[in-house]
């Protein structure tokens, strides 16, 4: 059965999403166990696949039994093995944690919501595993459509901001499709490895340059890289908590994976870093992204919206790291995909716990939270330390790689931006934690207010949160192993 892991990890979720949506018409209580089982199988096969990749090297799985340039093949190496594990584990934990909040926020539409949730995970896993440029577009659209539907189920202005997300997302996906078309017309192939083999004599062609720029811009729109980030904060803030805690950690990171895949496999580092001299301007854009994200986050008075601006800044970290053009920077970027997915998940799970109990997450609502929800706030402190980059947590290590990469490449502005954003994060999070320590204002005189009783979120929400928080520390402690055993092999030898 281990031969079939690459197929299982997308087929089982896809089939169970269909079964969930059909089962929803019969008995709504069936949906959650099916979803958990499906994502459990997916996570199991992702881990099994990563172990196999570590033993045997890259795995090619031919779908339909056709050899790669003719048919579609899955191409799993160290890079996507790692990202697959992250995606499936994050989705699994978030599903368990979100059960209560889904039931609270969408009482009569749980079944389609679970189906869309599982479809979204299917799409993300497929994007990461696939080795075919066009197949990636179809999977991108599955992810996008299910994401729109889930995010639009929020309150207030959720629908308007989701519609804006839909416009931007469609532009991004279409640009990517157009870029693939340009590649197709000059190479005649759609398979990533095949394209990379045909491309070298064509590096001087204007069409290849055009394809590269269009693909890159398309992926940037999807990942909300700086000048194109306007859709992200509103869309993620107003969505239901279960949806935003799935989409916020995963979608932008998977898009960064796609960008790295385009650089490393399709266009090859030789073309991206040496022939095109665009590394410098892109790193400057990343610097701008980090500064803008940090400053806009400072201006926010709403916890969830503040976190979304931090995501914008984090996207800047990873894009900048990937474009430094050296091994350390790339290692930092890939490591940060893992870390940032976990950090963002942890922070958004905290927000969804707060939303479950308080019905609001503006800063004024948070007063006295430490006494009310001590465990949730404990996890929040760990997430904050990690986002800031304090040593035992994982955030420190990826930032360390990014900063040393910046120094090696001589891009001091990027280093300054990283340090600046860490500083701003310190301010941001300590402000939040300080507010949480405040007692709520009493409206009577003197001492007649009682300390509020503890009202912690239910155990099904707390346990996954603790697992994630522990994961932040564990990944930090085992960073050396991850880098030496996995990421080291994920980056081609040509990058020094």
């Amino acid at each position: 059965m281990s031969q079939q892991y690459p197929a299982l990890l997308v087929i089982v979720p896809l089939l169970s999403a269909l079964v969930i949506s059909a089962a929803g018409w019969i008995n709504k209580r069936l949906c959650f166990p099916i979803a958990v089982a499906a994502l459990g199988v997916a996570a199991y096969s992702c881990i099994g696949l990563l172990l196999r990749v570590l033993e045997e090297g890259a795995i090619v799985y031919r779908l339909g039994g056709w050899d790669p340039p003719m048919g579609i093949a899955y191409y799993v190496d160290h890079l996507n093995g790692l990202v697959l594990v992250v995606v499936s584990v994050v989705a699994f934990l978030n599903l368990i944690a979100s059960k209560k909040s889904i039931e609270l926020e969408l009482p009569d539409k749980t079944a389609p919501f679970y189906a869309l949730y599982v479809l979204q995970v299917t799409g993300l896993l497929g994007i990461v595993a696939t080795g075919d440029a066009f197949n990636l577009y179809v999977l991108l659209e599955i992810t996008a459509l299910s994401g729109y539907a889930m995010l639009a189920m929020g309150k207030d202005r959720a629908q308007l901001s989701t519609l804006n997300y839909l416009y931007m997302g469609t532009i991004g996906a279409c640009f990517y499709l157009l870029g693939v078309g340009y590649l197709y017309i000059v190479t005649g192939s759609l398979n990533m490895v095949d394209i990379a083999n045909i491309l070298p004599p064509l590096y001087e062609s204007k069409a290849v340059l055009g394809a590269f720029i269009i693909c890159l811009v398309g992926v940037w729109v999807k990942m909300a890289f700086f000048p194109l980030h306007a859709w992200l904060p509103n869309a993620y803030t107003h969505g239901p908590s279960a949806a935003s805690s799935l989409i916020a950690p995963l979608v932008t990171k998977v898009m960064i994976y796609v960008m790295i895949r385009l650089i490393l496999t399709v266009f090859t580092p030789e073309f991206a870093f040496n022939i095109l001299a665009v590394s410098k301007p892109i790193v400057w854009l990343a610097v701008a992204a980090i500064f803008m994200g940090a400053i806009l986050a400072l201006a926010e008075r709403n916890l969830k919206k503040m976190l979304t601006y931090i995501i914008v800044a984090e996207v800047g970290y990873m894009v900048g790291g990937a474009w430094l053009g050296n091994r350390t920077g790339m290692t930092g970027a890939i490591l940060h995909i893992v870390n940032d997915a976990l950090m963002t998940l942890c922070a958004f799970l905290v927000v969804s716990n707060i939303a479950y109990k308080l019905k609001g997450y503006a800063f004024d609502d948070l007063k006295g939270l430490v006494r009310k929800m001590p465990f949730t706030m404990g996890a929040f402190v760990i997430a904050a330390l990690s986002i800031i980059g304090v040593p035992p947590t994982c955030g420190f290590f990826s930032k360390w790689y990014l900063i040393s990469g910046a120094i090696q490449a001589g891009q001091y502005a990027f280093m300054v931006a990283l340090l600046f954003s860490s500083l701003v994060n310190v301010v941001l999070f300590f402000r939040v934690i300080e507010i949480c320590y405040y007692e709520p204002f009493s409206n009577g005189h003197g001492h007649d207010h009682h300390p509020e009783p503890m009202a912690e979120a239910p155990l099904t929400m707390l346990v996954p949160l603790f697992i994630v928080a522990a994961g932040l520390v564990l990944v930090g402690l085992y960073t050396g192993d991850i880098v030496n055993n996995i990421i080291e092999f994920a980056i081609p030898k040509s990058i020094v």
């Binding site: 087929i11 579609i72 197949n135 639009a152």
Partner: protein
């Protein structure tokens, strides 16, 4: 905003025109796109899948995995429209309009009130217009033929243009035509919402399930030649039959999704009054 939009559109256009400079000439038989993969498809399809329509063969077999997700995209869209728009109401809210068939008198029934049990009253839409005999009759005659043609398109996709998508859309369109020419309640009576939603999933399950069956039979996912042992034929014919099976799945899924989306959009999720 206008100037910004103009600048973005123009700069995209300039970039694209610049990149077009190095394209091979239009319709050039010697362009890389015509030389790398497509000769294999054109020359080997008949041997390998025994399907004369190359587009169908590539769509459902060589790149069948894409098509499976394409069906899943359609399904996702249907589910998305459902979750976004559908409003479940126990009691029908607001006023309802009834028309007395013999006299043509229209009766407005207040919320919660009931009509006396009588066969002479017909529920009508708020935007009701007197029925046009010609349109109603022609549509009633046309719909069976449209559906027959759709079935032909699905079944004959191996030999002529067409296949699951086109046939599914036409089948869906026939029901939508019924909803437009009569009213939404008539078409929903023919195709209940629950049946529609379940069939929608079943269509995709047929596709993905065929693939999974191949996997269980010991070959790779979607490798239809594994079906040879089940269908008692040689692997090449099995591929041809496999394509037909998945096209049927696609047809069912697309038909139901189109109806589902139309019903939700045209009644804004209330399922009472259509276009």
């Amino acid at each position: 905003m206008k100037i910004l939009g103009l600048i973005i559109a123009l700069s995209t256009g300039v970039l694209l025109i610049y990149a077009t400079g190095d394209f091979p000439g239009w319709a050039d038989p010697a362009s890389p796109a015509s030389l790398h993969l497509s000769p294999h498809f054109i020359e080997k399809t008949m041997e390998e899948t025994s399907v004369p329509n190359i587009v169908t063969a590539v769509l459902a077999d060589y790149r069948g995995y894409d098509t499976m997700y394409e069906t899943a995209v359609i399904f996702t869209a249907g589910l998305a429209c459902f979750i976004l728009l559908r409003i479940f109401v126990r009691e029908e809210p607001g006023d309802r309009l009834y028309r007395h068939l013999l006299t043509g008198v229209t009766v407005r029934v207040k919320e919660g009130a009931k009509l006396p049990p009588s066969e002479d009253f017909e529920r009508i839409d708020a935007t009701w217009t007197p029925p046009d005999l010609i349109i109603k009759t022609i549509c009633r005659f046309l719909i069976p033929f449209i559906q027959l043609f759709a079935l032909y398109v699905i079944a004959h996709g191996h030999h002529s243009p067409g296949g699951g998508f086109q046939g599914g859309v036409i089948l869906g369109a026939s029901i939508i035509l019924l909803a437009i020419s009569q009213d939404l309640r008539t078409s929903v009576r023919r195709m209940r919402e629950k049946l529609d939603a379940v069939l929608c999933a079943v269509g995709v399950i047929i596709y993905a399930g065929t693939g999974a069956l191949c996997l269980l039979l010991g070959l790779n996912f979607l490798d239809y030649s594994a079906l040879a042992s089940v269908l008692h034929c040689d692997p090449v014919t099995a591929r041809s039959h496999g394509i037909l099976i998945v096209e049927i799945g696609v047809g069912i899924a697309v038909m139901c999704t189109m109806i589902w989306i139309y019903n939700n959009v045209s009644s804004t999720g209330k399922y009472d009054e259509g276009l």
